[in-house]
Assembly symmetry: C2
Amino acid sequence: MNKKQLIAQLSGSLNLSKADAERTFDTITNTILDALKGDDSVKIAGFGTYKVAKRKARVGRNPRTGEQIQIAASQKVKFLPAKALKEVFNK
Amino acid sequence: MNKKQLIAQLSGSLNLSKADAERTFDTITNTILDALKGDDSVKIAGFGTYKVAKRKARVGRNPRTGEQIQIAASQKVKFLPAKALKEVFNK
DNA sequence: TTACTATATGCAAAAACTGCATACCCATTT
DNA sequence: AAATGGGTATGCAGTTTTTGCATATAGTAA
């Protein structure tokens, strides 16, 4: 499922136009992103937690050439599924 | 940020009551979950992709006793941040 | 208050990460 | 509707990172 299909379905369930459904959806993702930018984590009970994980610089390797490479520190968004979410997929 | 705070903020941005904001939010997460249950992945352009990842069975350990334990195969929801999302946090 | 979530422990094995080329799928534009 | 551009998936190896086990406690949320 891609974003377009998701929006179409939400448009139905929420009784909104597709444009409004998309606006609503974008507002939510942007709110989550803004919170994460503020170095926060976003916990959503029953769904999961979004966290910004800091990754240290380290030595990697180009798998094609085998050559060693210095990898810079970086950050990435991690999603930790809530307990309820795991159970859905393991029962 | 927790769910309550997120809902409060969305209530403002979306010009909805908190109850409606929460209903809207829950509808979205449920829609995503349902899609994932159907063995699908959910791709959201500019945000990321939710996927169900299969995890193999393996040998674990009770950290309290040190005893070895067989861990069954399982599934978990993975979130892969989109390129745009990574850039936000690395610039 | 009741429910969920984080933490903390040791350790084995799975999985992620890196560069990069190709194939592919999606979205936007003409 | 078709074309184009861009993000994303895949595969490769080897090292780093994460995962997840049991369980109690502490903290937070509904």
